[in-house]
């Protein structure tokens, strides 16, 4: 049900964009105004979100240690899983962000009927997640060619590697296939595993369909319908130079693609997608396990009411003396 509503919402968005593209007066709105606004919302929204997180202090040093602490010199410490130095933390975070280290640990717990609990490999979520995020990033980088007059060597290199499996023309990008496959897997997994389906909200399906919509519309334009790439670049360059024009030769599919992307940009800072920024700030991962070596200061630490030794001795002086314990006051 939640999935269906989310799908309908995305289809409705496509319809809106299609309508917008066919009304001449609205093409400027969908081609220029909305993309500008969406990008602004994205940037400002993410900055505000990160500043909000940053405004809350980290009162305690709470890394989740997933390896041996640094203690006695002859015991080998786990410099990445339980980092005691800043460098260790950087490596731990790099592995987390670039390779999804924690998700790589994933296991499948199988509870037999009163017998052995078994723990099996479960790398598909990790693989699909990684494939999805990396292909999204590479596709984004590839798109930079639309926004830059002279396409830099780095982007050309990325395109070259991505189209390594050349099948006819136009160049076939592996990432296009990977992103479709991985997003589809993530969706099937979400509805296919009963527990995951049970925890899923509309906010979990909607971005999946939206991203799938962006990918499908992009793939259609590139491989199946003829999109006037030159006029798309004119639009993109115009947006970049703040002298936007909307060439009439741009088809409605492109408008759908662009509108989906705009919606994603607007949706981003207000949704779970903020994990993109949040992962860098997670205190259980980005802190060194050195709280016994170096005092961590809590900015809002305040004095508390305690039961002092003197009060304790007052309560128990006779019993203490009776038991032969030394006391401060006779």
């Amino acid at each position: 049900m939640k999935a269906l509503v989310s799908l309908m919402a995305v289809l409705l968005l496509a319809l809106i964009a299609y309508a917008g593209a066919s009304v001449p007066g609205l093409r400027y709105l969908f081609g220029v105004v909305i993309p500008y606004a969406a990008f602004a919302v994205f940037v400002v929204g993410m900055v505000v979100r990160v500043l909000k997180w940053a405004s809350s202090p980290v009162p305690f040093r709470i890394p989740t240690t997933t390896g041996q602490q640094k203690s006695l010199p002859w015991i080998k410490d786990s410099k990445i899983e339980s980092p005691s130095t800043g460098l260790g933390v950087i490596v731990r975070m790099a592995l987390e962000v670039l390779a999804f280290r924690s998700l790589f640990r994933n296991l499948k717990t199988q509870v037999g009927d009163g017998k052995q609990v078994a723990y099996g490999e479960a790398k598909w979520l990790w693989a699909a997640g990684l494939a999805f995020h990396w292909s999204f990033l590479i596709i984004l980088v590839r798109h930079m060619r639309f926004f830059i007059e002279q396409v830099p060597a780095a982007i050309q290199l990325a395109e070259g590697l991505d189209s390594f499996l050349q099948i006819g023309a136009p160049l076939f990008y592996m990432t296009d296939a990977i992103i479709l496959a991985s997003v589809t897997y993530l969706f099937i997994r979400r509805v296919g595993i009963p527990q995951v389906k049970y925890i899923s909200l509309m906010a979990d399906y909607f971005p999946l369909f939206l991203i799938l919509g962006i990918a499908v519309s992009g793939v259609l334009m590139r491989y199946f319908t003829k999109t006037d790439i030159v006029s798309v670049k004119v639009l993109a360059m115009g947006l970049m130079s703040f002298k936007p024009t909307v060439p009439e030769t741009i088809g409605s599919l492109f408008f759908i693609h662009l509108f989906f992307l705009s919606v994603l940009f607007v949706y981003f800072p207000f949704s779970k997608l903020v994990h993109m920024g949040g992962v860098f700030m997670s205190p259980t991962r980005n802190m060194a396990n050195n709280s016994r070596m170096k005092r961590h200061v809590n900015p809002w630490n305040y004095p508390v009411h305690v039961h002092t030794y003197d009060e304790y001795e007052n309560d128990f002086r006779d019993k203490m003396k009776g038991a032969g314990l030394p006391v401060e006051k006779e």
């Binding site: 390896g67 006695l72 994933n106 509309m202 994990h275 070596m293 039961h307 030794y309």
Partner: protein
């Protein structure tokens, strides 16, 4: 009290999901799965709000008129104070990687015991009250109104989490359900909604220095019994000191070790080890608790109880502090104590008087774990050990959650263990070290009225023990945690009756050859040693 079902029945775990959406499925309080509510006296002693007689099963919880306001303000306050909380409210993508990592979910099959859903219980209210999308779109954006039913659901499920952090190991963003439960319980405590098994020990600890409420003369009396037993086993009379000014080291251990077996055998182990070393140390009756049930109540209460350790070290003028075997005690000491009540600049960087080793890893907080201390002794050949005395035992090692995932102490106890026993077998790798399973009774849930919950929560741990018991003949489950020693005993009796439970230093003391001791014929438990048995047979 609810009747505890038989193991065969309890191990049939039902993973069927309710037909209704989780937000539309009201909480049902099942007897055996929750603890008694806090008593008014326990709250009054520590000046906590809303002390009154109440029972969780009652419809009326006798809450203040403005309870909802208190909770919402409590959340607002805490998102400003804790980046962890604010972030963990925002970034979860509900991938479900944490779901089958929780021992309570594995043991109960209840979807609200999936860490992700336990967090959503509070996240849904956060969305409704604190996010733009939730305010406008409500349920469509995953938001929901805070009602009395929601509050009861929080209470039920935040006291079905032991803050073990296993979920946070697997979370791609490091979201730690422990952190959310800690704050969830803090919020509940604003309304006087604690459990007595926590509130009672907290008030005891506040007034008397330890969770069990042992008064100074009782502590000494309890230790005297142990000293008698040590004399019987070794022929040596030990005379420890209490509240002694000018000692080099203050020793602090959880009070559970002074109270009931098998913890008492661990305490006997400390006494024997320190005696053999001639250590200049003292016990304290004021700081007679290493554990901290305040930590399961609120940050402030944790700090109030913890303050006694540094205060007593200062009063007695010791150089540094040595800490006994305990789980959450060491998470609190490692990650909170110095921040709360430091800097401990009146102490010196801990240095073993026996080996000269300086514990640089504790140079700021000034407290050393006894397993680190003993590992260093063994490495420097300072102990005469006869591991054969433990030959009647086949030992496996339980990593306590907090020590593993909130400190990273994995190798030190294993090193000690390998030197004091000849038969050591690890449990399956996905159930040890950073992936270790909770005993099911941590964070103050080791009461008796919730035994069904405890046996269910401890099921994955027990199952792994059962595996090594059946395949390798393991008969002893060793650990460094006082709650483990108390709770795993019940867990083993229920699931794997052939396996006993002991602390690390019980095994150390069994193997320790003390100067001038008589020939030992029994271990600390009074059970005949294998070598003595062999001799008898020969004769």
């Amino acid at each position: 009290m609810a009747k505890l079902p038989k193991p065969a029945e309890l191990s049939k775990i039902d993973f069927t999901l309710p037909k209704t959406d989780w937000m539309d499925t009201p909480v049902v309080f099942k007897e055996g799965m929750y603890c008694h509510g806090s008593k008014p006296k326990s709250l009054e002693i520590v000046e906590f709000p809303n002390p009154r007689e109440w029972r969780p099963a009652d419809a009326d919880w006798k809450l203040p008129e403005n309870w909802k306001e208190i909770i919402i303000e409590g959340i607002a306050d805490r998102i400003k104070k804790y980046r962890s909380f604010r972030l963990f409210m925002d970034i979860c993508v509900r991938c479900g990687a944490c779901a089958d990592k929780c021992h309570f979910f594995i043991g109960t099959g209840d979807p609200k015991n999936m860490p992700v859903l336990r967090a959503e219980l509070i996240r849904s209210v956060y969305r409704k009250e604190f996010t733009t999308a939730g305010k406008i779109l409500g349920k469509m954006a995953g938001g929901r109104e805070l009602t009395l039913d929601v509050l009861k659901e929080w209470w039920y499920y935040f006291y079905q989490c032991t803050e073990c952090r296993r979920c946070s190991v697997f979370c791609p963003y490091g979201i730690d359900q422990a952190e959310i439960t800690i704050i969830g319980r803090e919020l509940l405590n604003l309304l006087g909604l604690n459990i007595e098994w926590i509130a009672g020990p907290v008030s005891n600890c506040y007034m008397k220095g330890n969770h069990l409420g042992l008064e100074p003369h009782t502590i000494i009396g309890n230790l005297e019994y142990m000293l008698d037993d040590i004399e019987t086993v070794t022929g040596k009379r030990i005379k420890p000191t209490f509240n002694r000014k000018g000692a080099e080291i203050l020793f602090v251990t959880p009070s559970g070790d002074l109270f009931a077996d098998p913890g008492t055998y661990t305490a006997m182990g400390y006494l024997m080890l320190f005696e053999e070393l001639g250590l200049d140390y003292t016990w304290s009756t004021y700081a007679s608790e290493g554990g901290n049930f305040g930590f399961f109540t609120s940050n402030e209460m944790g700090k109030r109880l913890n303050s006694k350790i540094y205060a007593e070290a200062k009063r007695l003028g010791v150089k540094w502090i040595l800490g006994g075997e305990c789980g959450h005690m060491w998470r609190v000491l490692s990650q909170y104590m110095d921040t709360w009540n430091g800097p401990a600049d009146f102490l010196e960087v801990p240095k073993s008087p026996i080996t000269g080793t300086v514990f640089e890893n504790a140079k700021s907080m000034k407290m050393v774990h006894v397993a680190e201390f003993t590992a260093d002794l063994i490495k420097n050949n300072k102990l005469k050990l006869d591991p054969k005395r433990n030959d009647h035992l086949k030992v496996t090692w339980h990593d306590s959650c907090n020590v593993a995932r909130g400190m990273g102490m994995l190798e030190e106890p294993r090193y000690v263990l390998r030197n004091v026993v000849n038969n050591f077998v690890e449990m399956p790798e996905d159930t040890i070290r950073e992936k270790t399973f909770c005993c099911g009774s941590g964070t103050g849930l080791n009461a008796s009225e919730n035994m069904e919950l405890r046996m269910k929560g401890g099921y994955p741990r027990a199952n792994a023990v059962k595996f090594v018991a059946e395949h390798h003949g393991v008969n002893m489950l060793a650990n460094v945690c006082a709650i483990d020693r108390a709770s795993l005993k019940a867990l083993m009796e229920y699931w794997v009756p052939s396996v006993g439970v002991c602390g690390l230093h019980e095994l150390v003391a069994n193997a320790l050859i003390m100067t001038g001791e008589k020939e030992r014929t029994t271990d600390l438990r009074g059970e005949p040693l294998p070598s003595a048995e062999a001799k008898e047979e020969k004769a």
